[in-house]
Symmetry: D3
Amino acid sequence: MRPSGRAPDEMRPITIETGFTKHAEGSCLISCGDTRVLCTASVEERIPPWLRGKGEGWVTGEYSMLPRATHTRGSREAARGKQSGRTQEIQRLIGRSLRAVVDLKKLGERQITLDCDVIQADGGTRTASISGAWVALRLAVNSLMASGDIKQDPIEKQVAAISCGIYQGTPVLDLDYAEDSNADADANFVLIEGGQIAEVQATAEGATYDEEGLLRLLRLAKIGCDGIFAAQLDAVK
Amino acid sequence: MRPSGRAPDEMRPITIETGFTKHAEGSCLISCGDTRVLCTASVEERIPPWLRGKGEGWVTGEYSMLPRATHTRGSREAARGKQSGRTQEIQRLIGRSLRAVVDLKKLGERQITLDCDVIQADGGTRTASISGAWVALRLAVNSLMASGDIKQDPIEKQVAAISCGIYQGTPVLDLDYAEDSNADADANFVLIEGGQIAEVQATAEGATYDEEGLLRLLRLAKIGCDGIFAAQLDAVK
Amino acid sequence: MRPSGRAPDEMRPITIETGFTKHAEGSCLISCGDTRVLCTASVEERIPPWLRGKGEGWVTGEYSMLPRATHTRGSREAARGKQSGRTQEIQRLIGRSLRAVVDLKKLGERQITLDCDVIQADGGTRTASISGAWVALRLAVNSLMASGDIKQDPIEKQVAAISCGIYQGTPVLDLDYAEDSNADADANFVLIEGGQIAEVQATAEGATYDEEGLLRLLRLAKIGCDGIFAAQLDAVK
Amino acid sequence: MRPSGRAPDEMRPITIETGFTKHAEGSCLISCGDTRVLCTASVEERIPPWLRGKGEGWVTGEYSMLPRATHTRGSREAARGKQSGRTQEIQRLIGRSLRAVVDLKKLGERQITLDCDVIQADGGTRTASISGAWVALRLAVNSLMASGDIKQDPIEKQVAAISCGIYQGTPVLDLDYAEDSNADADANFVLIEGGQIAEVQATAEGATYDEEGLLRLLRLAKIGCDGIFAAQLDAVK
Amino acid sequence: MRPSGRAPDEMRPITIETGFTKHAEGSCLISCGDTRVLCTASVEERIPPWLRGKGEGWVTGEYSMLPRATHTRGSREAARGKQSGRTQEIQRLIGRSLRAVVDLKKLGERQITLDCDVIQADGGTRTASISGAWVALRLAVNSLMASGDIKQDPIEKQVAAISCGIYQGTPVLDLDYAEDSNADADANFVLIEGGQIAEVQATAEGATYDEEGLLRLLRLAKIGCDGIFAAQLDAVK
Amino acid sequence: MRPSGRAPDEMRPITIETGFTKHAEGSCLISCGDTRVLCTASVEERIPPWLRGKGEGWVTGEYSMLPRATHTRGSREAARGKQSGRTQEIQRLIGRSLRAVVDLKKLGERQITLDCDVIQADGGTRTASISGAWVALRLAVNSLMASGDIKQDPIEKQVAAISCGIYQGTPVLDLDYAEDSNADADANFVLIEGGQIAEVQATAEGATYDEEGLLRLLRLAKIGCDGIFAAQLDAVK
C-alpha cells in the first residue's frame, strides 16, 4: 500500500558514514533511504555575546539544501540573499534538539556548530539532520575529551528524530518524498533515549487527527528512534 | 503557585473587540490577559502565481511585534532589513492553521491575508494571533457572502490556539510571560471545534516529558480552546 | 465645500489616550479624526556611538504603518526587507522635531526612542505622530524625574505638528485623506508653543503657490497647533 | 562676518558646463563655488508600471555622493547595500521639483531619469542638483523635439533651488559647508521662474525662527534663484 | 621540496565518481587529492530573459563552499545574506569556461546550470569545479540526446582547468593548500583539448614574474590538463 | 581596419589631470580616449581588523560606474542594494594590482582607499582605473612623506594596465567599446615598470587562442604600458 512497499512500521535503511570530511572535528554522512545529509560539528573557542561571563558553552545548528538535492532545482539561498522561513525553522529545531541532551556548563565556554547540508533529498531531511548531527557532535566531543579540553562528558543522552504521518488513512513510519507530498497529516518527533520527548511538530495538512491519532504516531516514532539510536551507537563506537 | 494565582486549568480573561480598524474587511483586537493583538483580514482579488488557473483561493498570515510591545524595546524588523526566524515560523503557523478550516475552492480566486500585529505582549502572542485571526477572517468572509461575491461559506469550522506548559512540575493552561520564561516545557496547540488537532508544537526547554505529559497538556488545551470558541462565536454574532 | 463639511480653519477632533500600552515608559494613542497613531517612548541607558563621552543624550523617532492601516493593504516593510524613502523621511522628521524642544545635556547619557505606529490612516499620519510623540516623551521624562534619574526637566517647550493645504483654491487646515489626495499644495508645519517654527515642509503638487499663500497656510497651522497644545497639556496633567 | 567674506545676499559663483559626458541625452557639470555636481538626463522609452495606459510620461531623480566628495571619505552606499534616508529624501525632492515644471502628458510615454552625482561637496549639493538637473532635462527635451519625438514642449517653466540660513543671527544666502555645519537654521527653497514656490524645506537646528524669519529667507532665495535662472538660460542657449 | 613531496610537474590523483546524486540530469564528485567538489548539471526548459527569441540556450555556473569544507569554519553565505566577491568571480569563470566549448544554438532554448559545491577544500577548488562541471554537463547532454530532445551534440570539445604557481622559486603544477597559501605567484589556466587557451588568470602575490615565467606555467598546465582530459573521458564513457 | 582607424599597436591618447577634486589626499581624472575615470586616494589612520598589531598598512580599491557612463543607462548599484559580480571582481583586481608595488610595512598602520569612479565609459575602464589609481596613490604618499608621517617611500615601482585583444583576427592594443564588444579574445594585463607581470586576465570569448597568441598580446601590452608609465611620471612630477 505504501509506494515503497514498506510495512507501516518499517523504516528505510539507515547508514552513517563517519569521518566523511577531514577538517571538521566531527562529521558523518547519514543516509535514510535516498535522503543523504552531510553533518559536521565545528568547535570554536568563542561564544555568542549574550553568553559571555556565564561559564557556559553553546550548541547551534545550520541547515541548507544543495540546489539540486531535490527533483527540480531550487534557487540557492545565498544567491537570493536570504534564508527561507523553512530553513530558519529547521535550523532552530536542530539547535534546540541537540541542546536538549547537552549540559552547556560541562561544555565550557566554546561553541559547537552543527552544519547539516542536504546532498540528496527524499523526505525527512530535517529529522535525518538531527540524527546525524548527534553523531557529529559525539565525535567532536570525544576529541575534545581525548585532548583534555573537556573533563566531564557534556552529552547526557542520545537524541534522534523521525517523521510519521497518516498516509491514505494508515499511520506510517518514516515518510519518503512520495508519501510526504501526499500525506494527510505529518509529524516530526524528536525523542531522547529512554522514551522522553524533546519536540513534537505535528501538522494536519489535509485531514485533522484526534488524540488517538497523535498517540499512534508517537508510538511509531518510538519504534523508529530505537533503530536510529542503535545505528548512532554503532557509528561512534 | 502560579505567579498570577490562577488555577492550573484557568485561562486568562479573553476579550475580542471587533471592527477595531475601519479599512480592513474584517478586524478585531483580541486580548488574552495583557497580551493584545490586532488582527485584520484583507481581501485581495489576486492569488499567488503558483495557484493561477486552479480555481482556488489562498489564505495566508503575517505577524509582527511592535517594537515596544515587550518589556524592553526590540529593534524594528523593517529597520534590520529582515524578519527573524521566529517571526517567519509564526507566520507560517498562522497561515497553516487558518487554511486547515477553509475550503479554498469555495473561497474562489482571491487571497485573504491575516495580519497579526502584537500591540502588547505577555506570553502567548502566536496563539492569540490564531484565535483572533479566525474572527477577522469570519467577518471578512461574512462581508463577501453578504455582497454575493461568495456563494457558499468556505469556512468549515472554528479554529483556536492556546499554549500549555509544565511550570514547576505542574501542567498549566495559558502561560503568561512570567511562566513562559521559566517553564520546563512549552506546547502550542491549534485545535478545531469538535476536538480535532490541527497543529501541535511541543518543546522541552529544561526537562523533557513523556507520552503521559503530552496527553495532559493536550487535555488542558481542549479546555482552553472550548473557552476561546465561545468567545469567538460571541464576537462575530 | 470640504468633503467632510468642515470649515476651512476647522480641525478634526483630537483625542489622546495615555498609558495605552503598559511596558513603555510613556505611551499614548492619538486620534486626529480617523487617523490613529500609537506613540511609545522607550528609555534606554545607552547612546549612539558618536555621542559617547559628550555627556549628552539622544532622542530619535521611528515610524511605521501597519499593513492594513490604509484603504488597500500595503506590503510589510519588514517583509520587503527595507524601509521606504517615505518612511525614512518621516522618521528623520519626527526625531528632529522632538530634539528641537529637548536639552540633550539635561537628558543625560541615555536615549529615548519614539515609536510611532500608525494603526489607522486618514491623512496627516506624520503630523499626528509628532504631536503624540511629545506626549509619550513628556510621560517618560516625568517618570525619569519622579525616580530622580533626571534632576532638571530637559523638555523646554511643547511641540506639535499639523498639515495644511490648498484644496480647490482654498487654504484649509488639517487635511484628511480625501483632501490630501486631491490637494493642489500640501504643507506640514512643526510649531513650538509661543509661535516659533521648528520645520516647514511645503510641496506644490498640482499648482505652485506664492509668498502670500505660504503665509496663509502658516497662519492656519498656528490655529491648529494651538488646539493641539491644549490637548497635549490636558493629556499629561 | 561670513567665513568666505561674502555679503549676506551674495551667492557663490555659478558655472554650468553642458555636454560634460557624451552618452547622456542631456548633461552638465554645475559648480556652485566648490560644490560640483554632474547631472545627466537619460531618456528611456518605458514608464513605471503604475503609469501604463495613461498616455503620460514620468520624470524621476537619483542622487549620490562619490565617496570622497567630502572632507572625510564616506562609505559607498552600493557597498553598504542600501541608500541612506538622506539620499532617498533628496532623490524624492529632485523628482518632485522637476515634475513641478513638466507637463507629463506632453512628454509622452517615456521616462527621463535625472542622475545627480556629487563630484565634490561644499554645502548645497541638493539645491545644485536641482538647478543642474533642469539644464540636463532641457537639453534632453530639446533633442527629443529636434528629432520630432515630441511635438509640444513639455517644460513649462524654469525651476531652480538654493539654500538660505541664519548664520550667527544673520539671514544669509547660499550656505557653504563652513556655514551649513554651524547655521542656526537652514532652509532649502525650490522656486519657479516668476516667483512661485515649488518646495520649502526649512529646519531649525539650533534656534527656531518665526514667520518674519521665514519670509526673510524666502526673499533671499528669490534673489539667488534669479541668478541661477539666468545662468541656466545662458547654458542652454 | 614540495610539502607533499610531489615532483614539480606531478598532479595529485584525480578521481571522478559519476552519478553521485540521483535527481540531477548529470552529476559527479570530482576529487583532486583532498579537494572534493560535487558538480551537478540541471536542465531547465527556460532561458534568461535577454535570450528570448534568439533560438539559443544558456550554460551558467554556481559555486559554493560548505561552511566546514575548510580548515576553520567559514560563515554561510546564505546566512550573511550575500555572496562574496570571490564566489561571484568563480561563478562567472565557471560559466564562461563551459560556454567556451558549447554551441548554444545546438543546445536549443534551454538552460543548463552547473552547481559546483565544495565538500572539502585543499587548494584548487575553482579549477576542480570546472573540470568536474564538464563531466556533469556531458552526462546531462548525453541524456538530452538519448531522449531526442537535442539532435546535434552542442559540446564541441573538452575543457579542463588547473592551477600552477611559483613555489619557493620553482614553477609547480596543481597547488595544494599548503603551497597555495605560500606561493609567490599563482595562475589558473582553463584549457581546451588540442592546446587552446580559454582563460588565464595569473596573479603575482609576493613576487612578479616575466614572460618566460608565464610560459613555463602555461606548459605545466598543459601537462596537467592532458591528465584531466583523460580522466574526464574515462568517467563518461 | 579598426573602427577608430588606429594602427594595431596604437593606443588612444592618454591625459591625466591631477588634483581634480580638492578633498582627497590624491586625485586625478584619467582619460584614455573617451573613457574617463576619476581616481581618488583617501588616507585613513585605521586598518582592517585582521591586520591589527602587525605594523603594516593596507591598500584597497573600490570601483563604480556612474549610471549614465554607458550608452544606455544602467541601474544604480546602491539602489539595487548590491554590487554586481563584475564590480567586485574589478575592485579586487585594483587592490591587488596596487598592493603589488607597495611595501605595506613602510606604509605604516594606515589604509589608503583608491576610489575609481567611471564618469564616461568607452572600453578599458578597469585598466584605466588601475593606471589612474597609481597616480592618485603616488600623490597621497607624496603628501604623507612631505608631512613626515612616512619616512621611507613605500611605493617601489610604477604599475599600469591595458587591455589587448584579437579583433577580426588581428591582435590589437587598447580596445575601445566598439572593438571590445566584438573581439574574439580579450586580455587585461597589469604590468610593472621594468617588464614584470602583476596580473594577466585573458578570456577567449568567441575563439580561443594558443600560446603564441597570448605572447603577442603580452608584447602589445608592454608597448602600451610603457606609454602609460611615461604619462604617469609626467603627471606626478
